[in-house]
């Protein structure tokens, strides 16, 4: 393992009398991308500013190579550390002039940019995708374009350490990838240590070698992306419920947001405080579905705080995969097999326990016919008014026979109205 190029130990920063960083320790090595993530106000930007030498810590120290950052001359520091601020200011310079400013630290007081500086500027502008704007004034660019100009300026500094404060915040999807590719290329090709504050967790998981999760001025988790991006960590830091799985193509952790947790984690000043009471708290809803007909509904119900259960679901069923991810209780059965008596009995227990049963517009065949029968045991039944039942019946009429009495017992509701009906019914 290579030695750390930039090292912070026990760094604490006060802003206006409020502690913003509390004893942060980290190290960045050459060639690696370290991601900083955490909720608003967790101290990411302040940490980056401290590492860039723009904010003096009142406690702790920062070392660049072997030298204390505080004792480095500003111009020497600017040759070694490039800082890309979060917001791109408006000013009257052209794009090329702005990017060339990244070369200033390398020039003597009376020296002007030469051909080499210009070549470097054009090269980094190409990589940041702004070369076509070279002669345009910054004032005439969009926010995302200005942000890419800032990246180009930081790259033009050709520093050993690249500090990026949410480099993709204002960018569209394509340019997020383009910019992060350019950053990774820089880290690899020039052996630069990169520390980047990132809001997009999936992007952070995809590009960063290591992640630091911050909350309330501290690093609460550090390690490889799949170690840091866990539902528990994200609940603690952001107060959100998530599902995290390896991306099917890249294998990097992919974060899917389910919703906000009821109680917001460890934020300062409201630790342990009650969050707002959520719609579905303490209400059990049983969803009878199959083949993807209940996927979206289960997700919405879980997000709204309902306790959700589901029917007998065979292995390989898309609704079953969703139920597993959402940690929804259901009765498992082998693939493509008929519901057994034992499974049906277990299913009936879930139906009886539920305050509401929602019957989705699923296709019914011989195998899952008992799921439809079980709906008869519902205390209150909602039937999703989707496709006509005649299209869903693959049993030659038996299912229609079972469906008929349910229509009288339950209430037909259009799919978008299910949550509203539930909310009114349980209120």
């Amino acid at each position: 393992m290579k030695d750390a190029l930039l090292r912070a130990e026990g760094v604490s920063v006060m802003l206006g009398g409020t502690p913003v960083l509390r004893g942060v320790t980290l190290a960045a090595r050459r060639g690696e991308i370290v991601g900083l993530t955490g909720p608003n106000g967790s101290g990411k930007s302040t940490l980056l500013r401290a590492l860039a030498g723009l904010q003096k810590p009142y406690e702790g120290g920062i070392w660049l190579g072997g030298e204390a950052l505080g004792s480095t001359a500003p111009s020497a520091r600017a040759r070694q550390i490039a800082f890309m601020p979060q917001s791109a200011e408006r000013h009257p310079f052209t794009v090329l002039e702005t990017v060339l400013m990244g070369r200033y630290p390398h020039l003597g007081r009376f020296e002007l940019e030469g051909r080499r500086d210009r070549d470097i500027a054009l090269e980094v502008m190409r990589r940041a995708g702004v070369e076509e704007f070279a002669g345009r004034q910054i004032d005439t660019l969009s926010g995302g374009e200005r942000q890419r100009v800032l990246l180009a300026r930081a790259l033009a500094q050709q520093a050993d350490v690249l500090l990026l404060d949410e480099p993709t915040a204002a960018l569209d999807l394509k340019h997020r990838l383009l910019v992060m590719d350019a950053v990774r290329e820089e880290a690899a090709a020039r052996d630069v240590a990169v520390i980047a504050a990132m809001h997009d967790l999936s992007l952070a998981g995809r590009y960063c070698d290591r992640l630091l999760l911050m909350d309330a001025g501290r690093i609460i988790s550090a390690g490889a992306p799949d170690e840091v991006l866990t539902p528990e960590n994200l609940r603690a830091a952001f107060g959100v419920e998530t599902v995290i799985e390896p991306d099917s193509v890249t294998g990097r952790p992919q974060v899917t947001l389910l919703g906000a947790s009821g109680i917001s984690g460890t934020a300062v000043g409201q630790a342990g405080g009650e969050g707002p009471r959520r719609m579905g708290e303490g209400v059990r809803v049983h969803v009878i579905c199959g083949a993807g007909s209940g996927r979206d509904l289960m997700h919405q119900l879980v997000s709204a705080g309902y306790t959700v259960t589901s029917c007998v679901l065979g292995q390989g069923d898309t609704d079953r995969e969703t139920a597993e991810r959402l940690k929804v209780e259901f009765v498992p059965s082998p693939p493509f097999s008929a519901v057994s008596d034992v499974e049906h009995t277990l299913h009936l227990k879930l139906v009886e326990a539920a305050d509401f049963v929602v019957l989705c517009d699923m296709a019914v065949g011989r195998n899952n016919l008992p799921n439809l029968h079980a709906a008869a045991g519902a205390r209150r039944l909602l039937i999703v008014d989707g496709r006509p039942f005649s299209e869903l019946d693959y049993t030659g009429g038996d299912a229609a026979l079972a469906f008929e009495p349910l229509v009288h017992q339950g209430r037909r509701v259009a799919r978008p109205d299910v949550l509203r009906t539930l909310a009114r019914g349980s209120g």
Binding site: P74, H91, F93, T94, M101, Y104, D139
Partner: protein, 373 residues
């Protein structure tokens, strides 16, 4: 082909500096150099032509050939003008006034450009940090107390002291609330200027002597009349030093214009540069005010007009502002001297009368760009 050869000739003529720069960058001429050379050539030619004209015209018109000979004579070349009286008019009356006009114009325009960059505000002028108001107070006091009548350098001396005092006051107020910021400096400058301006008005109104009152109003309108070589000898070194130092820090000013944070990240000692620029701007503006009264609009209109032509890079803009300001004020002063000859219009009136419509015209024609420096 024609362009190419013309370029080659320019190279030879402007050697060795230009050639050395080109050589050192392997045939690459930075746009900064190109704009500086072209701009300097145009403005210096304009200044030379205008200076000859200014030396020739006046209540007593001197033929151009005599003027040229007289100017060369004043520089120690040739025999001077044909008539001794002509030589005396050129050397002791018109030339010092021309030189001071050039110096004051350069001072005001360079200080204006610097302040617009430092405050990141297109409306900033050299007087924004209270220097003009302070200088006015000093001058008015010198007249009111009779010191100006008693001693020839009392008025510029007290005006300069007033300018320096005002800067100090503005700075202390801005720094008093704890963290120092450019925005606080701007507000403090506005407050101090308004306060001192009120005192000046009060003094003018409550002065009993009609003669003194007239002098005050005259001084406040700005003018370069009765300039002698003594004034030039004092004013020019101060202005020259201040302007050169501001130009030296032009690159840092570029970064400050982007943002203070960016400047710091790119290695600028922000506090140091800010103080140097403030002191230099105050020095040159204070000197200008002391010897010529308050002259409006030069610091505003000249940098703005140049910015539209050469762009925002202060490494080009500051030197060219110095030349452009010199040219503009010399033109204004020549008009002031000759428009109602033998009477004189105050030069501050001319700069405002010409500068304000010009400024408005620039604003209308380049609305999109003029708004943002």
């Amino acid at each position: 082909m024609l362009r190419f050869s013309a370029r080659g000739r320019a190279d030879n003529r402007l050697s060795p500096v230009f050639r050395a720069i080109r050589r050192s960058k392997a045939g690459f001429a930075s746009p900064v150099v190109r704009k500086l050379v072209a701009g300097t050539a145009v403005l210096v030619a304009g200044i030379c032509a205008l200076a000859v004209m200014a030396a020739a015209v006046g209540p007593y018109n001197i033929p151009f050939s005599h003027t040229l000979a007289g100017l060369l004579g004043a520089l120690g070349m040739g025999q001077g003008a044909t008539a001794r009286s002509e030589q005396a008019i050129i050397e002791t009356i018109r030339l010092p006034r021309i030189v001071l006009a050039l110096g004051v114009g350069a001072a005001l325009a360079t200080a204006g450009a610097s302040m617009q960059g430092l405050f990141r505000n297109p409306m900033a002028d050299p007087g924004i940090i209270g220097v003009s108001a302070g200088g006015a107070l000093g001058a008015v006091l010198a007249i009111a107390t009779g010191a100006a009548a008693a001693m020839s350098l009392a008025l510029p001396g007290m005006a300069f002291a007033g300018a320096a005092g005002a800067l100090l006051l503005v700075y202390l107020i801005a720094a008093a609330g704890g963290r120092f910021s450019i925005a606080a400096l701007l507000l403090s400058g506005v407050a101090v200027s308004a306060f001192l301006g009120a005192i000046v008005s009060a003094i003018v109104i409550f002065t009993n002597s009609q003669q003194a009152q007239r002098e005050m109003v005259f001084w406040l309108a700005g003018g370069l009349d009765s300039t002698g070589w003594e004034d030039v000898r004092i004013a020019l070194p101060l202005i020259g030093a201040g302007v050169v130092v501001m130009i030296v820090f032009a690159r840092d000013l570029n970064l400050l214009l982007v943002s203070e944070e960016d400047a710091r990240a790119l290695g600028v000692r922000v506090g140091l540069v800010r103080n140097v620029l403030l002191v230099c701007a105050a020095l040159v503006t204070g000197t200008a005010v002391a010897f010529s009264g308050t002259i409006a609009f030069v610091g505003l209109v000249v940098p703005h007009a140049l910015r539209l032509v050469v762009g925002a890079d202060n490494r080009v803009l500051l030197p060219l502002s110095a030349l452009g300001g010199a040219l503009f004020l010399l033109a204004a002063d020549t008009v002031a001297r000759t428009a109602a000859s033998p009477a004189e219009v105050r030069v501050g009136i001319i700069t405002a009368l010409a500068g304000a419509p010009l400024f408005a015209l620039l604003l209308i024609r380049h609305k999109a760009r003029a708004g943002a420096l």
